[in-house]
Amino acid sequence: MSTDIAQAAPRKGRRRRFSQLSRRDRLVLIVMVGIPTFVHIMLVWIPALLTAVLSFFRWDNVRPVNTAEAVGTRNYWEIFTIFDNQLFPAMFNNLLLIVWLSVCSGVGILLAYLLDKNLKGTRVYQSIYYFPVVLSIAVVGFIWKSVMFSREAGLLNIMWPGEPVDFIGDQSKLFEINLPLLDFPLGLSKNFAALLIAMAWRHIGYIMVLYLAGLKSFDPSLREAAAIDGCGEWQAFRRVVFPGLKPINVVVAVITVIEALRAYDIVAALSEPRGTEVMGTLVTNSLMGEGGGYAGRGSAFGMVLFLMCIGFIIWYVINNFREREA
C-alpha cells in the first residue's frame, strides 16, 4: 500500500479545480500535501513494511543489518510451536479484552441513552463518567494499584468473597479452557481480571461521550414516529435509533477492538506481572530489554498483532470513505 503512493506523485487533476490553478499554486499544494505525507510514510508505513520483511529474517538486533540471515517462515513456525506458551496466552488475553471492552461499550451506550433523557444534573453525570478518560492508562493503573488492588486494604479485596488476593501478583486462573492442540490451558488470571476492571473505568466514559453526541444529533421526529406507532422504548432503540446511528456504531466498534488489541500501557506500567501478557508486551519484550535481541521473532509476533488489527482497519476505512464518495 505504501509503495504505490510514493511513486504516484499528484498528477494533473481530473476535475477542473486543480488544473485551473496556476503553476505556483499547484506547487504550493503539492508541498502542503507532500511534507506531511513524507513524514507519515517514512515513520509509519515504511517501518510497518520493514517489520513484515524482518519477520522472515534472523537477526540479533545488534550487529549490522547486513548480517541478518533469511530464514523463510521459520520465525512463524517457531512462535506457533516452540513459543506457543507465550503467543497463545497473550493472544487469548487480547481476545478477552475485545469481549470485555465490547461489554463495556454496551454499558457506555446505555449510559449515553439514559443521559440523553435530559434529566436534572445530566451535565454533572457526564463530566464524572468521562473524567477517567483524560488520565493516562498508566496513571489509571497506578491509581487502581494503590487503592483497589492491594492484598491488605484494596477495595476489590473488601468485596472479594474468598481469601484475600494480591490482585497485582496473583496469576492463578479464574477459569480455564483446554484446547485440543495445546498442552497448557488458556484462561483468565486474577490479576488480568483486575486490570480489566480498571480499563472499564476508562473505556465506558469514552464510549458514553461519543454515543451521546450521536444521540443528540439523531432526528427526534423519527423517535416520535416510532412512539406513535406503538413501539416500546427498547423496540424503538433497537429498530429505529440504533440502525440510524450506523456511522457512530462503526466508530465505537473500531475504537473498542483497536483499543483492545493495542493494549500495552497499563500492563507495562505495572511491570508486566505474569498472567497479564498481551500481544503488545510480547512484541516489545522480544525486541528490547532482557529478553531482547530477537528481531526476527519479535517482528513475527508483531505481524500476528498486525494481522489481528488490519481487518478492522480496512473495514473502518471502507465504511468511512465509501459513503463519502457516494
Partner: protein
C-alpha cells in the same frame, strides 16, 4: 422522547425518573471512589496508618510527606519540563501539517485526495508495537547534529526530536480526518471569491480557511494535548535514558523502586494527573466537541 413521556401516566413516569436518577448517582459515586480514595491516601502515612487500618478507614493524621517524597525521587519538576518540550512543539506541528493536508484534500478535487485521507486514517490506527523496531533503526541511522540534541550521540535516537516526529507522524492522521470533515462544511464560494481577487492558495489557506477552523483547531488542541501528555509507549522506548523521559513514561521507574509504598504512588499519580485534569475541567466543551468531530462525519 417527549412524545413517549406524555403517553405514560404521570405517576409512573415520576417513579421511573427517581429510579433513573438514583441509578445515575450510584454510577457516579462508583466512578469517583477510586479517585477519591487515591486522593485521600496520598495525604496519609502509609506504614503506620494505611497499611494497618486499611484504605477505607478514617485517617488519623494527614501529611504532605508523600508528595514531597514523590516529587523528589520522581524528579517530577524536571520531567514536567521535558514533557513540555515534547508536547508543545509536537502539538503545533500536528495542527499545522494536518491542516495543510486537510485543506488540500477537502478544498480541491484531484485524483488522489481520498487516497491520502485513507492513508492517514489507516496509519493512525496501526498498533505502535508493529512499527517500533524498524523505526528505532531508522532513527539510529539518521545523523543528527549534537547542537540540536541533548544526548550528543550524533543520531536522532534518544533525542526529543525523535519522539516529537513520531507523534507528528501518528497524530496527523486523526487530525487530518477531523479537519477535512470540518473544512468541507465551509462554503466553496468563499474560496472562489478569494481566487477571483487573486489570492494565492497559501493565502486562502492561511487567511481565510484557518481562521474559520478555529473551533475545530481548539477542540483538537485540547484533545491532542492530553493524548501527547499521556503517551507512555514512545517516551519509554525511544528515550532509553530514564532522566530524559516525559512524565508519564517516567512513572514506571517509581513503580519499580517504591512498588509497595502505595501512598507514595498515589501521590505521584495525583501530580501527574493534575495537568490533564485541569485542562479537562477548564476546557470540557472543547474536549467533547473534539471527540464528536472525529466521530460524526461533516
Amino acid at each position: 422522547m417527549s412524545a413517549g413521556a406524555s403517553v405514560q401516566s404521570v405517576g409512573d413516569s415520576r417513579l421511573k425518573r427517581t429510579l433513573l436518577q438514583s441509578f445515575l448517582i450510584f454510577v457516579a459515586v462508583a466512578w469517583l471512589v477510586p479517585m477519591a480514595a487515591a486522593l485521600l491516601s496520598s495525604f496519609r502515612y502509609f506504614e503506620r496508618d494505611t497499611q494497618v487500618n486499611g484504605v477505607f478507614s478514617w485517617p488519623k493524621a494527614l501529611t504532605l510527606d508523600n508528595y514531597r517524597e514523590a516529587w523528589r525521587v520522581g524528579s517530577i519538576w524536571s520531567h514536567f519540563g521535558k514533557t513540555l518540550f515534547i508536547v508543545l512543539p509536537a502539538l503545533l506541528l500536528i495542527l499545522l501539517l494536518s491542516s495543510m493536508v486537510a485543506y488540500a484534500c477537502a478544498r480541491y478535487s484531484w485524483k488522489f485526495n481520498v487516497f491520502f485521507l485513507v492513508l492517514f486514517t489507516a496509519g493512525n490506527l496501526m498498533p505502535q508495537q508493529v512499527i517500533f523496531q524498524p523505526l528505532f533503526r531508522i532513527y539510529k541511522n539518521t545523523p543528527w547534529p549534537d547542537l540540536l540534541s541533548d544526548t550528543d550521540t550524533g543520531s536522532l535516537l534518544g533525542t526529543k526530536v525523535a519522539v516529537i516526529l513520531i507523534h507528528v507522524a501518528f497524530q496527523t492522521g486523526f487530525c487530518t480526518f477531523v479537519l477535512s470533515n470540518y473544512m468541507k462544511t465551509i462554503p466553496k464560494e468563499l474560496g472562489e471569491a478569494a481566487m477571483m481577487d487573486g489570492a494565492s492558495v497559501w493565502r486562502q489557506y492561511w487567511q481565510i480557511i484557518m481562521p474559520l477552523c478555529r473551533p475545530a483547531l481548539a477542540a483538537l488542541a485540547t484533545l491532542e494535548f492530553t493524548w501527547l501528555y499521556n503517551d507512555f509507549f514512545w517516551g519509554s522506548v525511544l528515550l532509553n535514558q530514564g532522566r530524559e523521559r516525559p512524565i508519564t513514561s517516567s512513572i514506571a521507574v517509581l513503580n519499580g523502586q517504591y512498588a509497595s509504598d502505595y501512598n507514595l504512588i498515589a501521590a505521584a499519580s495525583m501530580m501527574i494527573a493534575l495537568p490533564t485534569l485541569a485542562v479537562y475541567l477548564a476546557l470540557q466543551k472543547h474536549f467533547i466537541s473534539g471527540l464528536t468531530l472525529g466521530a460524526n462525519k461533516g
